[in-house]
Point group: C5
Chain length 354, copies 5
């Protein structure tokens, strides 16, 4: 399957706004968790009946609803109805081939982005889609499957660590985005170390295996870039957004996040360039090798071919071949052979091939 | 014939706005179909007398007129007169070498774009021109020949599926564009899979055939890019258009379409880059091969040339050649040959050529 | 002489605005033709006395004055005085190394651009400068030498074909520009066909001649691009111009022209890219060839060198060389030779070199 | 460790705005120095109790507080409280992997940038983070360890050299930035000289060592670029800033600084391009060498292989081989050998291989 | 010394705005010349006492003061005081490593740019810094050493040629800039001719010398580009400037100048691209050569190696070797040799290697 463009066959002929799940089903059953808090109170619970959580929708407390599993389109539709979400929003949530983007609706912001992780088994970076709906008093996150990436945020909420309990819901959204982007950077850095490390290997031993490695890193970097660049774009958009949903004191945090995502994109570009340089050195290394091989061949040939020729002459059976009959001919013959060899060696020495 | 720029000879010396068909005649006779609907009623019919459909022009219902076949310039002219279209619009409709673009006129929007499909016979992507005129109460589509690409939309109209019957004519235009762009993505994805697949083949066996394949894919991708990028441009334009012809609630759909077309363009660029990487690996593979060939040659030469030389020496006919007369000379001679060969093999082993 | 930057030596030390002809003199004597028309009347004549035509300057009819030949700077100056042209305009008209551009003056627009044609003798694209002065009631064109490129327009004027006689002078200017740009496209297309065609040739037989061809096409494409891109720029400028000289109903035509020139520029870029790909295939083809040559050499050497060595052994003159004296030695010897050869052939077969 | 993206593990799961030191601890203990001056008075002292310096915060004199060492987060927090700094500012100060940037807060500007120096031991460019907080009456600089880079500014303050004592605190900030950027340029220039110098070496002797050098320079240039480009960006931002903190008469100095940083960035780009050209010449040099090697091999082989063949013929033992028995056969044989050799040499001369 | 970034060591630690000469001292003593004129009167004199010329500062006549030699910083300071120039302006004037730029001050415009000339001795393009201060009634030019580049302007002033005496001081500034840019173009053109010329040489004989030439031209083009691009930028800025110092009727001239400088930049880019193509052909040429060399080697080897082998067989000393004893063996042997050779030649002919 093409990794760079997910299969959209299922969506063919579908009406836009009609909700059809596109992607791989990664959990058996979708699960819902809710955290509801303000500065003083904290309520955390597994949701079974959706109406429970819809009740919290308009309370002034911060309501964070997290859904794991997207294939249950009925559930998604109910949430959509409960929280007044546009059909297109629901459509984007269940279409896991969505390009990262942000859309401003009347009462909420809708963001789609990707969580990235390295799949040790497939030896590839994989991505999962995360959708965030940020309303005035509620925030809904949709993940493809349960993950512990947001646990540090939950922890901070539970332990009243930092400012998270004191400030608004937009700060919560920021905190989630921040974790995602920090994870991008850690992923890039992980590859970066490996990329910086293979340089010496390339110079010393430009093997086929290294070539495959370079290519693999290149593709992973391209994949990261394709996914992270639009994230940076929408954070930029976010930092310029004029909306009630974002409070003034959250702006510096968004700008900090923008810096972080810029750093991510620049990091990727640096490593892409480095890989491109690696490829160049690899090729040059191969050419250097060819030169060395040819030198060895040439030196051997150029020394022994004349010698063999001389030996050939005295192997002829001419009746009248005077040199054959002198007493010391054979030793003079050796003298000639050695002289020729020495001369050739000097010649190659002068040419700096030895 | 140049695929990237169609032949315009026919248009030479023609007055601008004069309607001359440029392209290949793809149907015997042009046919017209009309669908007229509102939320309650639906009328679908083949049109024989054009005036029938012009009568529907100003009714508040949605009137969608589809023309298959562009060579009948008289017909096009009549439609132009009937629906008050600018001469340039008619000119662009019959000139199938038109660059995708959108033009805003007083009472209607005019869009030209391309439908793309893979021609199995010619093993090339081919394109057909689609022109859309979007008025207040009518929408006219001009295709080069009958096709079933819009059938899903017709189906949704007939079955009142989704919102299509409830909302305005601009949504119909969007629905058509959406199908076109979805088709682009499917085409890109189809090539994408093949492109991702040939990578292993290149590393293992960099044959001439693969080179041709890479080149072919490159050109198809270039062709796609050339056609799809301007489409993305005009959708962007559309999303920023301030016109009565587009209602507010259609805007999110247009933005979604913009995202989709961005995804198409980015997908193409990813694959172009991948092909460029493929080309690099291919070249490196060839060089690796050359190295291997040269290694074999050098090893053979470097081992046997000295051996042959030694044999040559004892093939000389010097009268006084003492070694020839010792009893074990021949066996010592073999000993020397084997030693030299072993020494050379070790030498190459140390050089890691073996 | 440098084609990409014409010799400006003549202009050295000249005062700006001083009129010095820079270029090649392409006609013996400058000639003037005038066409004056409105919807009803048409007057066409060769001008001898310039004052004749200046008289038409302020009449409400469309006055189109065409000058062939630019070396007669006195004449140019007289025209400048007669039609109140800025010194810089006159300077640009006679300097045939001018970059295509448009300048807005108080009472007229001044445009410089190039007509391009393929010079069969020099096997190069050559260009001629065309300057257009568009006033309220007059239009003056300056060509380097008489040409028939505008004949279709004259024809349409004479035969009242299309809208040309009914609308204003800005439409005439558009019609001229349209012909120029259509000519660019035809020129590009002509090269394009050849460029698309050589691909197969490259794969089959990467000869030196093809290399020269690719290079030649590259330079022609660069030359076209250098000349056409600024034309596209000023048409864009024109389409955004807010001036009395352009009437509203001419705007769609200008936009159409803009599309056409964009198509020209994109076409050039496509072919440039294709040529760059051609160059890549060419180089890969050469490397493939080298591989094939080396394979042949290696196979021959690797088979015969050991054989020769074995023959050499039995050519030695050792007194005690037992194998020589067995009855069937010679035939066993042949057996060994054939076995070695067969073994080597198998070895190369396994390596897929055969 | 990846140089292009510093390790951020420590920050994982941390609340944004929570102050966690990320980086290498470069000093044992953080030290504080304060300079307080106006046109008449100057006070310079080592700070032990932070409150001493906070007292100077609102006095109209210029108060410059310099902190060396960032690992003491308690100290940083105290400074933050004393000078009313935003939590994110403190966070950025202690995170030494920060991207150079500028942020405008209500009462102060916050700038992060890097000081660069060549680490002779590691043979790499290293960077240290410098943070600057510019308030109305105070300026705080945070360095990773004590350095003498700002000594010239201190000197000018002490000696009342130039305008520094007469103008405001924004000029002081400018003076510090100016020294940083001048240092960038000197670093670039230092590498630039070496880069310009290796060109001849490459043409003469394209060794493996030079390849490593080119690669090393490339990476250092990339590193410089990555660090300096965002500095240029924020100086540009600074030059367009509309803030009370910058006085009008400082603007020309900022613009001068912008020019300087543009020069730095352009210089880097020039050298990057030059290195890329160097790489090209290197590769061409290698190919030229291969050609030379092959020429030698070919000449030797082509001359001696036919000669050896001829000698081989007269080494055969045919009973009836007439030439062997003529008296002068051997000498004629030599004549033939010499003729063949001469002919081959001429052949290669004509081919210009000799 | 690095040519792309001049040595700034002297400026290290210097206060900004402090005037320190950076560069090479190119004249013994600085000299001053003044021209003062209006439409009727003209005064031209060598200045000894600076106060003489300062007296002319506020007269309504055009006062053009030209200084040759920049090392005399005292003189520069006096001029600065006399004409009320900002410290940074003076600083930029004496720092000959300044990037071309324009700065608007309250009462004057300050421009720095480079005059370029080809130094025949060093075989390099060299540049000299030219600073222009354009006030309301005075214009000051600072050159590194006396030059005759402005003589044509002085001549036009003296001879009242063109409009120069009739219009204002801004026209004088334009005239000077015009000469500079015309000189750029002539320099580019001069290199351009040589660059266009070497193409044939490359195809015919890709020698090491040509490689050096290409590299040299590349660097010169890069150097030109680095210097001329910022000049184009500030002319663009100038053309958009809204200042009393520029009169309306000078604007068309500035725009013409902008066109000229665009032409210069585009010319450089064209030649850079051409050089890059040259490099490609050069490399392909080398590869073609290698192919030819290998072909010769392979043909020789493949023909003679089997022949030598056959000769070797009949050189063996087997007692029982029947073929040796037939009467016509030797002649049959020759027949076999010739057949093999003919067969090989045909083989290579079929492969199109001959």
């Amino acid at each position: 399957m093409a990794r760079f463009l997910k299969n959209r066959e299922a969506s063919n002929g579908r009406a836009p706004g009609e909700i059809v799940f596109i992607g791989e089903k990664k959990v058996q059953e979708a699960t819902l968790k809710m955290i509801d808090y303000d500065n003083e109170n904290l309520l955390e619970q597994e949701i079974i009946d959706l109406n429970e959580s819809i009740a919290f929708k308009d309370t002034p407390t911060v309501t964070w609803l997290n859904i794991n599993g997207l294939h249950d389109t009925d559930l998604i539709k109910k949430i959509g109805d409960g929280f007044d979400l546009h059909a297109l929003v629901l459509d984007d949530i269940v279409n896991t081939s969505q390009r990262p983007s942000m859309e401003e609706y009347d009462d909420y912001l809708f963001m789609v982005l990707k969580m990235m992780y390295y799949d040790e088994a497939a030896k590839q970076i994989k991505s999962e889609q995360l959708s965030i709906v940020l309303g005035k008093t509620f925030l809904i996150t949709f993940q493809e499957r349960p993950g512990d990436i947001f646990d540090p945020v939950r922890d901070r909420i539970r332990k009243q660590k930092g400012r998270i309990r004191k400030v608004g819901i937009d700060y919560l959204a920021y905190a989630l985005l921040d974790i995602i982007v920090e994870n991008y950077i850690m992923l890039i850095e992980r590859f970066g170390e490996q990329i910086e490390d293979i340089e010496n290997e390339i110079l010393e031993n430009p093997s086929q295996k290294i070539l495959s490695k370079i290519q693999k890193y290149k593709q992973e970097m391209n994949y990261l870039r394709k996914t992270i660049r639009p994230v940076r774009e929408f954070i930029l958009q976010l930092s310029r957004l004029d909306s009630d949903l974002l409070q003034d004191h959250t702006l510096p945090f968004i700008k900090d996040l923008l810096d972080l995502s810029t750093q991510a994109v620049e990091g990727i570009d640096s490593y892409r360039e480095m890989l491109s340089d690696h490829m160049d050195i690899y090729n040059t290394g191969i050419n250097n090798r060819l030169n060395e091989i040819m030198k060895v061949l040439t030196i051997f040939s150029a020394i022994f071919i004349p010698l063999t020729f001389i030996a050939g002459i005295y192997g002829t059976n001419f009746e009248n071949l005077p040199e054959l009959h002198f007493r010391y001919s054979y030793f003079i013959f050796w003298g000639v052979l050695v002289s020729v060899a020495v001369f050739m060696l000097r010649f190659f020495k002068r040419k700096k091939w030895l």
